[in-house]
């Protein structure tokens, strides 16, 4: 049996008196597209943080491609092929768009510790940065400071940086929140356009987006995994109707 891309094994995250994630197990196969659903405070971001390494589970294990990474730093997981975006946009606000992309592209290169040559004097990295900027087209221009970018473009940059190094596992935390209909559509297009072997987990509140990008849906509620099912199963399940569609946003 081939290893799962992401194998979350009975993880718990305890914040003081609050059990934000309470014994969740989740297996996502290589190349699978999965959407995580659940009302505010269900523990979706906390679960992402344990997969990405931003948080270490109180108990339980996280495995990527069959390897236990529970104790590994986020940067090690990035080198294993994991990339992510953040629900709250997480960029380098005082740098330009180009510099942000540059940092993303450089992150997995051996030259990232170089101290002598100027950062701009690495042709292969500069080329890749130029390709990404051409592909994603930031209307304000690559030399715009990120803090002066529109919200929509900041979200776009967040995404561009996550896929810059062609990750094998991609975690997207509410990639379309706050975006216009057109912007949302282009995000959907991007996710669907990713190479087939890329494993993608998306936290998404917009059901249209969710149904467009994934075949399987996992529902969290109060830190627990309620169920995993297809679109039809999710829509038919009464508990889910009550938990999510009833009282969610």
């Amino acid at each position: 049996m081939s290893a799962q891309a992401v194998d979350v094994d009975n993880v718990v995250m305890q914040f003081g008196g609050l059990r934000a994630v309470d014994g969740v197990s989740l297996r996502v196969g290589v190349g699978e597209r999965r959407v995580l659903l659940g009302p505010n405070g269900a523990g979706k971001t906390t679960l992402f943080n344990m997969i990405g390494g931003q948080l270490q589970p109180t108990s339980g294990a996280v495995r990527l491609f069959g390897r236990d990474v529970s104790k590994q730093n986020p940067y090690r997981r990035a080198h294993d092929g994991l990339a992510r975006t953040f629900q709250i946009t997480s960029l380098f606000p005082d740098m330009t768009v180009g510099e942000n992309v540059h940092l993303a592209v450089r992150a997995l290169s051996t030259s990232r510790f170089g101290m002598i040559r100027p950062a701009g004097a690495y042709p292969r990295i500069a080329e890749r940065v130029a390709d990404i900027l051409a592909e994603w087209r930031f209307p304000a221009g690559a030399d715009t400071r990120v803090s002066n970018l529109s919200y929509g473009d900041q979200r776009k940059l967040e995404l561009a940086m996550a896929v810059a190094n062609r990750p094998r596992i991609l975690l997207l935390d509410e990639p379309t929140s706050g975006l216009s209909a057109t912007e949302t559509e282009s995000v959907v297009g991007l996710i669907k356009g990713l190479p087939e072997d890329v494993t993608v987990i998306v936290v998404e509140h917009d059901m249209d987006v969710a149904f467009a990008v994934a075949d399987l849906f996992t529902i969290l509620h109060n830190g627990r995994l309620v169920t995993t099912g297809t679109a039809a199963e999710v829509q038919a399940n009464e508990d889910i109707q009550r938990i999510y569609f009833g009282e969610g946003e």
């Binding site: 730093n73 940067y75 990035a78 953040f86 380098f92 740098m95 170089g114 100027p118």
Partner: protein, 316 residues
């Protein structure tokens, strides 16, 4: 002409004028400039941590002192070669920086500030109490001028030593310029702004901070070398909290995170301390007032203030 060529030409011209100054000024004024250059190197080193990486080290006199004592000890007991003394001093400063960095980087924010301060005070206490090595509060005396092994440069005179100090500061500035423009320097700025995203992208944030700490200590040690050979003595005072506070202020006044700001900040603070000490012995009070004024009117430092004003005029 390309802007980098212009900048290069300006830098060479500044260096030439500065070098010529040594022959023209009085020995007192030249001595003052040497002090400025020494502290400029120290501030340059601290800026890598404070300005680039956002790590507020408040004990940088420790690495300065370790460098100065080491170079002094080499001169007194081993060799009068400048290069041996400098190599040993920088190595010792970086080694102490590595140990202190391991301890300090277990914390962050204000705790980082406090632990670097405490480590600085421990270093001061060691310099003060390890009499057999450091001479205690008498310090090390009778350290002569070093032998550079370069014909034609006589560093026994103040004017000659000034040339050495100028070359040492220029070398430090060029090396620092390479570092801050390199991928490593770019990563430090990324870490300053958003360490969590840097980690998620794949950067080993801790290792970058540690390396920045050690390199910064090396620059401080280099400043200590130029200092001790100039003064001919070193006492625990040079390792103390006042020096640490002064150099922190130099970085902030000049412009933390800019290349040239800490350099200018050093000149400003050293000159001020000379002027002020002619009128009052309340130098620390003046230092505090200067800090408050900068925080109120130019929180990003003078270089940034001037740069912003310049850009505003040009675009207006």
């Amino acid at each position: 002409m390309r802007p980098s060529l212009v900048a290069g030409a300006v830098a060479v011209a500044v260096f030439a004028v500065a070098a010529a100054l040594g022959g023209l000024l009085s020995s007192y004024s030249t001595g003052l400039l040497i002090d400025c250059l020494i502290f400029a190197v120290l501030a340059l080193g601290l800026n890598l941590l404070l300005g680039q990486t956002g790590l507020p080290s408040l004990g940088h006199a420790a690495y300065f002192g370790v460098g100065a004592y080491t170079a002094g000890l080499v001169m007194l007991h081993v060799s009068d070669s400048f290069w041996w003394g400098a190599a040993a001093a920088i190595a010792a400063s970086m080694a102490v920086g590595a140990v202190y960095g391991l301890l300090a980087l277990r914390t962050s924010g204000v705790y980082f500030l406090i632990i670097t301060l405490a480590l600085g005070q421990i270093t001061f206490a060691i310099a003060f109490s390890w009499r057999s090595l450091t001479g205690g509060d008498d310090g090390l005396r009778g350290i002569g001028r070093p032998d550079l092994g370069l014909p034609g440069l006589n560093v026994d005179t103040t004017a000659g030593y000034y040339l050495l100090a100028l070359a040492a500061a220029a070398a430090a500035l060029l090396l620092m310029r390479l570092i801050v423009r390199s991928p490593f320097g770019e990563a430090l700025r990324g870490i300053h702004q958003n360490p969590d995203r840097m980690a998620a992208l794949g950067y080993n944030v801790w290792l970058y901070k540690f390396l920045a700490f050690v390199i910064s200590a090396g620059f401080a040690g280099w400043a200590g070398v130029i200092f001790v050979y100039y003064k001919g003595f070193i006492s625990p005072e040079a390792v103390g909290i006042v020096v640490s506070a002064e150099v922190t202020l130099m970085v902030i006044v000049g412009g933390a995170g800019t290349l040239i700001g800490p350099f200018l900040g050093a000149f400003l603070v050293v000159f001020m301390s000379h002027v002020v000490s002619g009128y009052t012995d309340r130098w620390l009070t003046v230092l505090g007032l200067l800090y408050i004024c900068v925080m109120l009117f130019a929180p990003k430092g003078i270089v940034t203030l001037v740069g912003d004003a310049w850009r505003a005029r040009r675009s207006a």
